[in-house]
């Protein structure tokens, strides 16, 4: 199929002055809603949908797409500065990013995230331009058994997060898995652990868990640490990564782009898995893995690049197969339908202007986002100079508004407070929230796809081994576990690394 001709024609759509403006509007709005955790791109696009009725379909989708990938840029900011991850794919960033901010390197963290996002996004758009139909087909070979294997691998990888011990991470992950079972059973819809409450019928929202454990938990912990004293805000440092930072993070950005693009194509959980895999890859490749969890720049660069690349490649199933890969894509799907365009395998042929116009506008949008980031990071890092007495209540306020906007629920605002207390207690005993939150996200995927698989296999467990992708993935899981166990055994004779290294509450530098 000739790609170059129509792809170039798409630029004439993307460069129409009105469309440039819609693109700018979209990415700016996206960045802003990304900054407010909770109010995600999905809600924003839903709200803005009615006002796009009167504009051209291509312009409308250009703007809405801009909101989506713009939000990925913005989401990093609160993760790094306030430890408030608004989306599952930025949880990983909150770990090392926040530590970098505490060390006075917020500017470097945000800067490398912006550069990484730009590169990851651009790589993924190139992939989208040239490989879309090819990769889309591959995504279909991922059925429930493959997702089961992927989720198992993911849960194994959460134990690599941060600097805690494997045992502590596994414990936190187990709590996460348990929490994921709250709500209606994904297969037969019976309610579990809901105590008859409708608010719990759909389970606990990710945003509630993440912002409670990370954001509120951190505030409570700091309150106790600094009781009676007026804590000094961390130094702000330079507003941009240094040459050395870039050298350290360069390879991570490259690897993150590829990981993000590939995993982002998978409907459901692609972006989260990609950030997790990128983090694990960086930690494994690092000469000194103990830096991770204490502010390693690769721990920000890899996942941030990957989640942005994944956000872009999640357009592939929508545009080439007509399958929305996540909640935001479902709304984009609706937006296209309301504009009289049916996303599906025939979209490229029937509406090449929309298909290529939107894709080409992403090149422009990503560039705009990078340009906007430069001055904005300088402003945002100043947030850190605000006294805790002001910043802490403000953070709570942002959290509460963010949580409320997810489904307009007061119950969720109470729930986030409960998770805040849990986060505080976990920090006291040295459990990290990262593994819990990510296991919580992957738990639903694991349970649903495992039970779907068992039905597909008519109850025969051996079915997993009989399929190439799930067989290989599960084989990899077994190898990783065995190798890790052997390594621990040989280590135990000298220094019992993992167990003795259980940190108490990590002392803030």
């Amino acid at each position: 199929m000739d790609v170059i001709g129509p792809a170039l024609a798409g630029f004439s759509v993307a460069f129409e002055p009105a469309n440039l403006l819609y693109c700018l509007l979209g990415v700016t709005l996206g960045m802003l809603v990304g900054v407010l955790p909770g109010l995600g791109p999905a809600a924003t696009i839903a709200v803005l949908l009615p006002i796009t009725y009167t504009i051209e379909p291509a312009s409308a989708i250009i703007m809405l797409a801009g909101i989506f990938y713009g939000a990925q840029y913005g989401g990093t900011i609160t993760s790094v500065l306030l430890r408030l991850p608004g989306e599952a794919s930025t949880v990983v960033t909150a770990i090392d990013g926040y530590q970098m901010a505490r060390n006075g390197r917020a500017g470097a963290a945000l800067g490398i995230a912006a550069i990484g996002s730009f590169i990851g996004g651009t790589v993924a758009i190139l992939g989208l331009t040239f490989l879309a139909p090819l990769v889309a087909g591959a995504a279909l070979s991922f059925g429930p058994p493959e997702y089961t294997a992927l989720a198992v691998l993911g849960i194994l990888l959460v134990t690599t997060l941060g600097g805690g011990s494997v045992r502590a991470s596994l414990l936190a992950a187990a709590i996460g898995l348990l929490l994921a079972t709250v709500g209606r059973d994904p297969i037969v819809a019976t309610e579990r652990f809901t105590f008859g409450s409708d608010e719990l019928a759909d389970g606990i929202d990710f945003v509630v868990v993440a912002m409670g454990l990370f954001g509120i938990g951190e505030i409570l912990f700091n309150l106790e640490q600094h009781r009676g004293t007026n804590p000094k805000p961390p130094p702000i440092g330079r507003a941009w990564p240094s040459r050395q930072d870039w050298r350290d993070a360069r390879a991570a950005v490259g690897r993150g782009s590829v990981v993000g693009f590939v995993l982002g194509v998978l409907p459901g959980g692609g972006a989260t898995m990609s950030s997790l895999v990128a983090y694990a890859v960086e930690k494994r490749r690092a000469k000194d893995p103990s830096r991770f969890g204490k502010g390693a720049i690769e721990g920000v660069a890899g996942p941030e690049t990957a989640n942005n690349a994944a956000a872009t490649s999640s357009f592939i199933p929508l545009l080439t197969l007509g399958i929305p890969a996540n909640g935001t894509m479902a709304i984009m799907f609706g937006a296209l339908l309301l504009h009289g365009i049916t996303p599906g395998p025939l979209l490229i042929g029937q509406h090449p202007d929309v298909f290529w116009g939107v894709i080409d506008s992403m090149y422009v949008g990503n560039l705009l986002l990078l340009i906007m980031s430069v001055p904005l990071i300088g402003i945002f890092v100043r947030v850190l100079a605000v006294r805790t007495a002001i910043l802490a209540p403000l953070t709570v306020l942002i959290t509460m508004i963010g949580v409320y906007t997810v489904r307009m629920s007061v119950f969720d605002m109470l729930a986030v407070a409960v998770f805040g207390v849990l986060g505080y207690l976990m920090k006291k005993v040295g459990l990290e929230p990262g593994p819990l939150v990510l296991a919580f996200v992957l738990g639903t995927l694991l349970e649903t796809s495992f039970r779907q698989s068992m039905r597909i296999f008519h109850g025969d467990l051996a079915g997993f081994a009989g399929r190439p992708i799930s067989g290989v993935l599960l084989g990899a899981v077994v190898v990783i576990v065995v190798v890790a166990a052997l390594r621990r055994r040989s280590h135990r004779k000298t220094v019992d690394n993992d167990v003795l290294a259980v940190p108490g509450p990590t002392k803030e530098p």
Binding site: I187, A189, T190, G322, L338, P345, I456
Partner: protein, 327 residues
């Protein structure tokens, strides 16, 4: 251009305010002057689904005849129960409407126990809206060309769009009647079901016509049967289940409801506006394009229809001896 942007921003501001779930509790109630403020339409599912799309299409069309803005609020949860109960439990002044659907009232109760489910006496039906039909599809790569092929193939697994949906019911009844060893694999809605089907993860699935259409057009999915009373114009070569000897008629219908006790004047105003909206060419075009038919019964026939459907389904389930409720 500049004015368009200003309008856009103004629109954003209005929309954002609306999104905040404005609830005027103490607004002056003046039945004669209804509506006194925007009429909020709650869609009890997340944005992007078919409920949401139809809700938005209706809201867009009804604004003009009603003379006020009609913001759509998504309130997902418990398969529609959360949004439904919230609106039906609010003050019956006509400023809050909810879009409900047949499967929630007629099918879900047969599959899932919920002592707290929405009851008919909690609502005033404002207007019937739409009928959507279901189609049984197999992947293009499947060897099965007819329903007879499929049910003759021995053991199979089929995808459904969730427990307690029309998709599950239609297949449970069809495969139950055909006495096939078939396992249902529930997915979370239409999109994941189609994904699984395109990848041949399951042998067959029942989805709504609108969801199937682009894939059928592209030759990626093959329709085997529809579950309507009569054939569907878009799929005129596809037999109904009834023609094939299976008495399975399942569809999804949507309607607008307000809390019980809505003042007759407000109800009349709303009904008139919805009737006008249903003639709006943009609305009818939207329905046509998405293979949705208007539900043309009078409003007072909605509840009897839903009750009859529930009883009918319960009877067929009992007669066929299948287990629809699982644990």
């Amino acid at each position: 251009m500049h004015r368009r942007i200003v309008a856009l921003l103004a629109g954003t501001a209005v929309a954002l305010t609306a999104c905040g779930g404005v609830q005027g509790g103490s607004a002056a109630r003046d039945a004669a002057g209804f509506p006194t403020k925007p009429v909020e339409l709650t869609v009890p599912s997340s944005a992007g689904g078919s409920s949401d799309l139809i809700g938005r299409a209706v809201a867009r069309a009804v604004e003009k005849p009603l003379g006020t803005s009609v913001p759509v609020v998504n309130k997902p949860g418990a398969n529609g129960a959360v949004g439904g109960k919230e609106v039906l439990g609010s003050s019956p002044d006509g400023h809050r409407l909810v879009m409900l659907f047949k499967s929630l009232m007629s099918i879900t109760p047969l599959a899932v126990d919920d002592p707290d489910a929405i009851r008919f006496d909690q609502m005033t039906v404002v207007a019937p809206l739409t009928v959507e039909d279901y189609v049984l599809v197999v992947p293009a790569a499947s060897p099965h060309r007819t329903v007879a092929d499929l049910v003759g193939a021995g053991r199979l697994s089929y995808g459904t769009t969730g427990a307690g949906t029309g998709s599950q019911l239609a297949q449970a009844l069809l495969f139950g009647a055909a006495k096939v060893d078939a396992t249902d694999v529930p997915f979370d809605g239409g999109a994941p079901t189609i994904t699984a089907l395109l990848g041949s993860q399951v042998d067959a699935a029942v989805i709504q016509i609108a969801e199937a259409a682009p894939q059928v057009d592209a030759g990626a999915l093959r329709p085997l049967a529809v579950f309507s009373e009569a054939r569907i114009p878009f799929l005129k070569d596809v037999p109904t289940a009834k023609e094939l000897g299976y008495d399975v008629v399942v569809d999804q219908r949507r309607f607008l409801a307000a809390p019980a006790g809505l003042a007759p004047e407000a109800l009349a105003t709303l009904q008139k506006a919805v009737a006008t909206a249903q003639q709006d060419p943009r609305y009818t075009e939207f329905l046509e394009k998405n293979y949705i038919s208007p539900w043309t019964d009078p409003a007072d026939q909605v509840i009897p229809h839903l009750e009859a459907a529930k009883k009918g389904y319960a009877d067929v389930i009992a007669a066929s001896g299948i287990t629809f409720k699982e644990s």
